[in-house]
Each structure stands twice: as structure tokens, then as C-alpha cells.
Amino acid sequence: MSLDDAMQTFIIECRELLESMEAALLSAEEAPASEEAINAIFRAAHTIKGSAGLFGLDHIVSFVHVAESVLDKVRNNEIPLDPPLVALMLQVCDHIGLLVSYLEQFKEPDNDLLEGSAILQAGLSTYLSDTPQPSASTLPVEHDAPYESEGGTPVETDNWHLSLRFNQDVLRNGMDPLSFIRYLGTLGKIVSIVTLTDTLPPLDAMDPETCYLGFEISFSSTADKADIESVFDFVREGSQIHILPPRSKISEYIQLIQSMPADDMRLGELLIKCGTLTRQELEDGLASQRTVESPDQVKPIGEVLIEQNVVQPVVVAAALDKQKAVKDVKTAEASLIRVDANKLDQLINLVGELIIASSGASLIAQKEALPHLLESTSTISRLVETIRDSALSLRMVPIGGTFSKFKRVVRDVSAELGKDIQLEISGEETELDKTVVEKIGDPLTHLVRNSMDHGIEPAEVRLARGKPVVGTLKLDAYHDSGNIIIEVSDDGGGLNKDKIFAKAVERGLIKPDQIMSENEIYNLIFEPGFSTADAVSNLSGRGVGMDVVRRNIEALRGTVEIRSVLGEGATMRIRLPLTLAIIDGFLVEVGDSSYVVPLDMVIECIELPVTQAGHDAENDADFINLRGEVLPYLRLRKHFEINGEPPRRENVVVVQFGDRKMGIVVDHLMGELQTVIKPLGKVLNKIRGIGGFTILGSGRVALIVDVPSMMQEAEHAAHEHITQKT
């Protein structure tokens, strides 16, 4: 792995860590932060700092270091994680992201960037200086503490336990921690000592005059606490000196465990370091926890150990929690592998070719009518189908990741607008193609911002309308007949269709006497000419850049529609195909040409009633009576201007898209087939009604019918038809 590759990995890792840090921060803002969340935030900062150090990225290390120090204080409950701090930390997140993107673009950090670092660092350092002295908060408690138990029995050790983390400036102040340890030797016997090097930066990043080392000491002595404490009198300021007497209260050990660095922390070592537990006792405890099968029946490790009278449970539980958090992260890492997206694309392409080849083979088998060959080709087809599905599922990712990014957007925008808006997310487990997920982010952001900006009313208006003061924005995703639906809904004012209509007339988009359905009027806001600056205030402003939204969505073969109830809110519904590459198709024939209709949209096939068959030319906007329902239909033969006589019996393929139905009249129905969608060349891609093409097993080309655009075409034609008549 070259340095560049490693750097790339570092950048990706950083982005992921920042994402999880941001998520944890946002959740901390909503509810009081759990210890787990705080640890996650701290770990993210810590890991970024560590990795940056490996690459000698001093500017990142020094910046993250300050943030980490503040987070460490949060972790030790020295300062609360209050909203201002969360806000600051979010800025820190952004800034780290910025630092990383400079790295990605091989740009040297410029002045603006460094200035940004300095400002945030200044903000962070106020937290570092304002905090109460840690020694003051921990030591007095122990001073008068009775050695008897308070919340449990005392631990078994007969030794003092000293946990020393020196003030970083201790060396500069002319004191040497080693000399304190040497002096300690005169008061008793150092039973064991562990030198902690966790905070020691790499050689090139370290400041040789800063003290980085910490010590954990098990100390056997007859001296009293005041004597031992007095050893550290000179260094107490700014240092974390914990002195636990023999047979201390358990709570004090827990406090100590919690103040230990989180990484590389093996529980066994830790407890043995602390002299609290033997390895055997620990292993027994872990083993009995493992035997408990169902997760909801898992007893807290403390209970397990209490039952066995092994050790003071609280101590173990605290340590186990920590270890588990570290372990969880590791297993998550282990069960995922990174694959180059290009490799996946290549795989999908190959699977596509495989599908074509295998349908070619089945075709030959059918022609030759050899039972054995037929049997084996059908087995192959089935397997290929499975391969196709699993290959495609490799590209499927849950949309939750995209959704959770909006927590931040909603938070920031609502602060910017001075509105109180909460985000509700559902359907985050809905999966869709990775390329779609990547491309849907921008349009979604636009819709979300629009809803917040113009949809949800200011608090006063909401109160006046009798709505809850807090506005709600909902993101939802679900599957619907081979499509994925993503909804952005708000409980704001909704769209005013009269105003939109008037505005569109004013802009010259429509004629004043045009008759339009409610839906069509709403859709006007997606027209390019509609978005103008002065539309913002009055017209609830939707339409600012909305044409871009629609274009982006259409590029994904999707559509967007609006539902709105005036005064109650609006819903933007994005409908996207599940995947861009391969679909199940329904093969039909008209004359000599083959067409494929996406199978997901096909509801049923019927024969065109004979009474309808003859009547054609003049009365073009045909419809049939489908079990009492009016079903408009379109003749593919006429639509694509195919010559030749229609057969005596024609068939209707009934398709559905959204809540609309339509019939497509064709000559023959050929059946299902797996279709690899090949995009049309540039010359042809303006043709309406065709979404791509595919190659059949016989080697012939079939066009894929683009049902949505064909429906629009048909409706359009119907309108003109009516206008001509009237």
C-alpha cells in the first residue's frame, strides 16, 4: 500500500468518523447524552488525531487535540455537554471535514483555514481553563471517606492504588514526575507500576518539553493518606492524581476505571492493573455472561458476578461496558469490506451479459426442443436470476444514512430561520441503489430546505392557526410496485394553487384560460421559468431552483409530485426506480418490432374487445371499459408509426404508474424476460416514450417502453384532442 493509498483510507475513515461523531452530537442535543454517545464522540476525535499523527499532519493533530481534551473533560463529567458545546463541537466537526478535504485535494492549508482553526481552538480552550480543578473535585471526597463500604463490600486488595496523570507543563515548571516516583519508594514499596504511553504523540509531533507519560501504581505502604498525598503537593495543580486507599470503596474504583483512556484497554489488564480482580475470576464472569442466550435475557454482568460472589459487580460492569463499546466497533469494522464501486459496476455489467447469453441459450433449447437441454437451461436461468438479485443487492444501501444527514440540515436551517422545527424520520431501512442514494442527496436537501423555509410558517402564524408551535418535517421512504418512494412532508401552510396559477400566467408559462388539474398546477413550480427571486416571499417561494430538483430526479428515471392541502401542509413525493441497470421486463411485439414493458408496472393483460378493434383513426383518444372503470389506451403501433395491418386480435397490457392506469395495445404478448437496460445514444435520447433498449436472446434489439413519459404523452394528446374539438 503506497502512501497515497493509505492517505485515501485515512480520508475515508475520517469522513466516516466525522459522520458518526456528528450523529452522536445531534442525538446528544436531543436527549441528555448517554455515556456511550459521549464515548463515541471522544473515540472519533481520538482516532482522527491518532491517524493524522501517523501521517505527520501536525495541523490536524494540534487542532483535534484541543477538541479531544475538551471531550475528555466531558467524558469525565467535569463539564456538561450542553447545547452551546454541542454547537461548537459541530463546528469543530465541520472544520475537521474541511481540513480533510484540503488534504484530499492536495492543497496546503491556507490562511483562512488556519484562522478557522485558531478561532475554534480559542472557543474550545475556554472550556479547558474554566473547569474546576479535577483534583479539587476528586480528592476531598476521599479525604474523610470511611474505609467501610458504602454501596458494596470493599475490594480485596491490600495495596494503595495511585493513578497519576501529570499536568502537561510539569516538566517546564521544573519538576520531574520520575523523582516523585523515586520519592514514593521511600514511603513504601511499589508493588507494580504501569507506565502509560497512550497520550504520547509520535516523535515528530511531540513537544519534548511537555509531559505525556502517566502512571498506574500499586503501592504497599504503612504511611497514611496525608503523607502519600503530600508527595504530590507540588504537582497537584492541573494534574489528575487519584489516590485510592487499600480496601477502598468500589465507587472510587469505578471512577478510576471511567477516567482511563478508552482505546487499547483490555478489561483484564485494566482490572489486574488496578489490582481488583484476578484473570480467572474475570474469565469466569465473561464465560457465564456468554452462556446466557437471548439478548433480552442478558443479565447485567454485575448480577452474574454477584450471584457467583466473585467480585464486586459494579466495578466489573463499569469496565465491561467500556470494553464492549470498544469491541462492538471492532466487530462492525470486521464484518464490512470496502470494494471499489467500479468493480461492482463491472460485476453488474457481466451479470447483464450473462443474462443475455443465458436467454439466448434457452431460446435455442426451445427451438431444438430437446427436453434435457430445456431442463438444464431453465436451471441456469433460475440461477442467473438469483445471481442477478444478489449482485444488485450488493449495490443496495439503506437510505437511513442519507436521511440522518438531514438531522444536521434541519438543525442548522431551523436555527438560521429562527423556526422551531423537528425532524421525523421513518422507513430508513428501505434500500435502494447506491448510485441513486448518492444522487438523491442534493434534490432532497433542496426540498427539505424549501419546506422549512417556505412551507412551515413562523411560530406566530402557527399559533394563530391553532397548530403546535413546533413545526414538523417528515422524511419517509418505502417500496411501492418496483419503485421506491421518498416523501418530504411538512405541516406548514401548503401550496396556494390560485397564486401559483396567477404567477404562472404572469410568467407566460401558461395561458390564462388554460384548464389544469390541481396536480398540474402544483407541478408548475418545477418549471424553469417559475423560479424567480420575487417569488420567494409571497408565493411561499417554492420554485427556487425547483426545476433543478426535477431535472435531477428525472435523470434518475424518477418523477416528483406534490400533494398539498392549503393550511395543513404539503408532501413532495419522489418516485424512483429501484435500480438503474437490470429489470424484469414483459416482452410484447408489434409488427416486426419487440418492446419491453417494465414488469413491475404491468397489472394485467386483456384482449382488446372486438367492438373496439375496428374503430380507430378519427377518434384517437380511445378508452375501454375495464370492469366498470374507464381505461384510456394507446396503440403502440400508431405511437411508433409502425406499418402493416394489425392482427385480428389485439391485446391490451394494463400498466400502472403511481395512481394512474393506462392500456397499451400491442399485437402479441411474448412473456416475461430479464432485461438489461442499455442506455440510448445521445442522438436518440430525446425520443419520448423510450427509456432505453435491450438485447434479446436471439440477438435482436428491443426497445424499453418508458411508461411514465408515454402516459404524459397520452394525456397531452387527449388534452389537445379536447381543445381541438371545442
Partner: protein, 106 residues
């Protein structure tokens, strides 16, 4: 203090004599950087170190950590009595993993 640095390709030999304390820490840090970053095999001779404090110790630890991460070798070929005492007192002798050679007089 004196620090003698010999770099011969990927091999390095560093002799430190005198005090290794906070007062010289910056100088040691600067002097150790090139051999530690450039050499795959680095020998540190601390036979004549008269005094070592936390700053000196953490420099050694950091250099050793770096060598472990990069897969190079850093070995301490000679320990003065002071160095040895400090390594013992901090239980870091095992971390460095060097053979401690005692002089005959002990």
C-alpha cells in the same frame, strides 16, 4: 551533554553522553529526529548517560514506539546505571526489550 549521530545508509548509531533532562530535551528531540526517521536499524548507546528524567524517557519511548509502528529496529546497546534504574522504576525495560549489560563492578 553530547550527542553523536552516525548515519550510514539505513543503519544509524547514536551515542548520548551526559545528562538527558528537560534542559536539553529540545536539542535531543531535534538531534534524534533524523536518525529515527531515516534508519531501519538504529542503535542507541546510553552507557555514559549520567542523568535521565521524564522528558528523556518519553523521547526514548516515543522513538521506540515509532520504530515498532514502522517495523524498524531500535535497540539500546548500552545502559548506564541511571538509565537502567529509571527503566526498572517505570517497568519499561520489557517494553524496550534490550539486553541490559551490567558492568563487572556491580
Amino acid at each position: 551533554m553530547t550527542i553523536t549521530v552516525n548515519i550510514n545508509g539505513a543503519m544509524g548509531h547514536v551515542v548520548i553522553e551526559g545528562e538527558m533532562t528537560i534542559f536539553e530535551a529540545a536539542e535531543y528531540h531535534a538531534a534524534l529526529m533524523p536518525p529515527v526517521t531515516q534508519c531501519h536499524m538504529l542503535e542507541l548507546d546510553l552507557t555514559n548517560v549520567t542523568e535521565i528524567d521524564t522528558s528523556g524517557l518519553q523521547l526514548l519511548v516515543s522513538a521506540k514506539l515509532r520504530s515498532q509502528q514502522t517495523g524498524s529496529t531500535l535497540s539500546i546497546t548500552g545502559h548506564s546505571e541511571t538509565v537502567q534504574q529509571v527503566l526498572d522504576a517505570t517497568d519499561l525495560a520489557g517494553f524496550f526489550g534490550d539486553q541490559v549489560v551490567l558492568t563487572a563492578s556491580e
